[in-house]
């Protein structure tokens, strides 16, 4: 009896398990572009607005939107779904999470099969490149990019005797040496730190102004030998040694109060962070300005929209992508939410170039961010790009915390990366 009942338990368990395994099986693709489809997005990208815009253009469509959570949480949920669960028909993937998915392009519909071979030509080369697999398949269409500017407090600059006009500031810190010199002047005049931190505001900017980053164009790891990476890292170390950093990490508890209290005068400003500055420091309205980063342009973030290979309604999902990623639709979405477009025609449209905001003292935000991504260099990102970036960034953060000497920071960073890559 014991034997047979154990067998029954085992059979039941196996039955349940195999049930779990097969539940994600795909049903036959429906050709109906108006079929109800599921759409997973992360929060903070204005997905509800996008869906409303889509329904206005296509009233017969049926969209089931889930805002899953943060970008990382959405990528985690997508990974779990792809590994053996119910996949959405349409999903947003943030740039940092993209390499892991691009590494296995067979999990997604090659969008060239739906959009034709000239699909890529409408978007920024590097934005499409980030979603292109080694086999040439395009798994995602760029919806937005993270054009980079620096935000600074004009009132604090004025008190320190520095220029306040965005064009003059941009000219004065056209190089990173100029940026550090300005910081030294500011700190000498006010006794206060100039920049919030070196790892995101300086290193994230400099390391993305290269023509070759952690991988060579043919996909070999070069992060430890590429002089451009070392130079970018050294700029951050030099900024730290100049004593002009408040050493307040992005998203740490002191970051938002620091923006409101004038603890530092400069912080990094990719397009998607602008609303965060407004929310963190409402009392500083009119004091902030946005201008060009030192060096040559930059980008932080951005996302693509993709259709998983097992999607039940790829046609309906593609209808959405086709409608909402056109240059006109991206311009319209930008006007409503401030999400910087990835389509080239949209980036050079009047609506984007003339965009200003009185919170930022009517700085030429649209012009600055658009120039920034149009100048941005394209380079190859491999599956471990995020892990390598995190390893180097952690070494800088650890140096700011006083645990690593500046002279040893680079070696610590390389060790972090070697541990991470195993």
């Amino acid at each position: 009896m014991i034997v047979s009942s154990t067998a029954a338990v085992g059979a039941l368990a196996l039955g349940l398990l195999s049930g779990c395994g097969s539940s994600g099986g795909s049903s036959a693709p429906s050709g109906d572009p108006n079929a109800e489809f599921t759409f997973w997005s992360f929060t903070g990208i204005g997905a509800k607005d996008s869906v409303a815009e889509y329904l206005a253009k296509n009233p017969n469509a049926q969209v089931k939107l889930s805002e899953v959570g943060s970008t990382t949480e959405t990528a985690t949920a997508l990974t779990a779904a792809l590994a053996g669960g119910d996949v959405p028909d349409l999903v947003m993937i943030q740039g940092d999470d993209l390499p892991k998915f691009v590494e296995n392009p067979s999990n997604f519909v090659d969008l060239r099969t739906l959009g034709g071979n000239d699909l890529a030509s409408k978007y920024l080369d590097w934005a499409v490149g980030a979603a292109t697999g080694t086999d040439g398949s395009i798994i995602g269409v760029p919806t937005d990019v993270g054009g980079l500017g620096l935000a600074y407090r004009a009132d604090l600059f004025e008190a320190a005797g520095l220029p306040t006009d965005p064009a003059e500031v941009a000219k004065m810190w056209s190089t990173w040496d100029g940026f550090i010199a300005m910081g030294e002047e500011y700190t000498a005049a006010t006794g206060k730190p100039f920049v919030d931190n070196i790892e995101t505001t300086v290193f994230f900017s400099t390391v993305n102004q290269v023509t070759e980053k952690y991988y060579s164009p043919d996909g070999k790891l070069v992060y430890d030998t590429n002089p451009q990476v070392k130079d970018a890292f050294d700029v951050a170390v030099k900024t730290y040694e100049a004593g002009i950093s408040a050493n307040i990490a992005a998203w740490s508890s002191g970051w938002d109060p620091g923006k409101a209290n004038g603890t530092f005068a400069v912080t990094v400003a990719p397009s998607w962070i602008l609303s965060g500055i407004k929310n963190a420091a409402p009392d500083t309205a009119g004091d902030w300005r946005i201008t060009t980063v030192p060096g040559v342009g930059g980008n932080w973030g951005g996302s693509v929209i993709a259709i998983p290979a097992r999607a039940a309604h790829p046609e309906a999902a593609w209808e959405y992508i086709k409608t909402m990623t056109s240059a006109d639709a991206q311009t319209e979405h930008f006007k409503r939410t401030g999400t910087l477009p990835a389509a080239k025609d949209s980036l050079t449209s009047d609506a984007v170039l003339s965009y200003t905001d009185d919170f930022f003292g009517d700085s030429p935000i649209g012009q600055v961010l658009s120039d920034s991504v149009l100048q941005f260099n394209s380079f190859y990102n491999g599956p471990d790009t995020s892990a390598i970036g995190a390893g180097l960034l952690n070494a800088l953060a650890d140096m700011q915390a006083g645990n690593v000497a500046p002279a040893e920071a680079w070696q610590t960073g390389l060790k972090n990366v070697k541990d991470a890559l195993g």
Partner: protein, 319 residues
């Protein structure tokens, strides 16, 4: 049990079973107990045993959840033993465990003695309020402690500022972050352990204390010679439970430092083994390596449990 003994008795008597209905009912009676316990074992099998065994299996692979699963034998374990991040996490786990557990149990013992005092008024109110930190969400606790220990605007550094002491960046240093996390762990568990000790104290008959005072034992002597030995089983229980909990500390280091993701600080100064497992498995999606860490953690917990078992049996023998 009585249900199963009935048919056995008939067999021993050597009497043949007369009616088939009787046989059927006795068969059901024999099976019934297994059926009653079956739900637990089925659910445990699916959600407990299977994942455990499957973890050992996955640990032998380079396992990408949405890509290839390549058999690599023991390579994940070889990598683990040479991985400084693993030994770092091991050190952090035991460091935080020691800093949080020892003061916590001493504090709980002292508080329990106070709460057991015969002349304490509103004793039930104080006893119940001890449990409040335990039923508070860890996430809420982490938020509050994060603000108390914050470098720029924290309560502790504000007080230090009034005393003209430079602010301390607790999270940046190894010891500081350990102290911050240990404070959270202590805050959460001291009430629970206090109540366990209190229950133990209340089981000690008052007569032996009276007899001791008649013999001239002072308060301290009564505490060390009577209270502690009588509480020994409870103390062992709390030590075992704290060890198991302490080796799996996860939520506190995860939430204490939101800006540094899953490493608990740029230098991994407070990343515990459980958090390292999570980082590799669900941050990097390296399921094989994450599983290998899980197996290592399992072995460590088993070793700790064996040590506890050894201590327990030795104390019993001493009685």
């Amino acid at each position: 049990m009585s249900a199963t003994t009935t048919p056995v008795a008939t067999h021993r008597d050597g009497k043949p079973r007369k009616q088939p209905t009787q046989v059927r009912s006795s068969f059901l009676e024999r099976v019934a107990p297994y059926a009653y316990v079956a739900p637990f074992f089925i659910i445990f099998g699916i959600f407990g045993l299977f994942p455990l065994v499957f973890t050992f299996f996955v640990a032998l692979f380079d396992w990408n959840p949405i890509g290839a699963h390549t058999f690599v034998g023991l390579a994940n374990f070889e990598r683990l033993l040479q991985d400084s991040r693993f030994w770092n996490a091991m050190g952090n786990t035991f460091g935080i465990f020691v800093i949080s557990t020892i003061p916590q149990l001493l504090l709980a013992l002292g508080l329990a003695a106070l709460l057991n005092h015969a002349r304490l008024r509103w004793a039930n109110f104080f006893r119940m309020s001890m449990l409040l930190p335990y039923i508070t969400s860890v996430a809420a606790t982490a938020l509050i402690f994060g603000q108390i220990f914050d470098r720029n605007f924290g309560l502790i550094n504000w007080i230090l500022g009034l005393l003209n002491v430079d602010p301390i960046n607790f999270l940046a240093s190894r010891l500081g972050s350990w102290v911050e996390i240990s404070a959270m762990v202590m805050w959460r568990w001291f009430g629970y352990n206090t109540l366990l000790y209190l229950a133990g104290l209340q089981a000690i008959p008052r007569e032996i204390y009276e007899a001791a005072s008649v013999d001239g034992a002072n308060g301290w002597q009564q505490f060390t010679r009577l209270t502690i030995p009588s509480l020994r089983p409870v103390i062992i229980f709390t030590v075992v439970m704290s060890t198991i909990g302490g080796l799996q500390i996860f939520t506190e280091p995860l939430l204490v430092s939101p800006e540094s993701g899953l490493t608990c600080g740029a230098g991994r100064q407070c990343q515990t083994l459980a958090l390292f497992l999570y980082e590799q498995g669900f941050g990097q999606f390296d399921f094989g390596y994450g599983s290998a860490i899980g197996v290592a953690l399992f072995v460590i917990v088993v070793v700790a449990a064996l040590i506890n078992f050894f201590l327990t049996t030795r104390t019993r023998g001493a009685r």
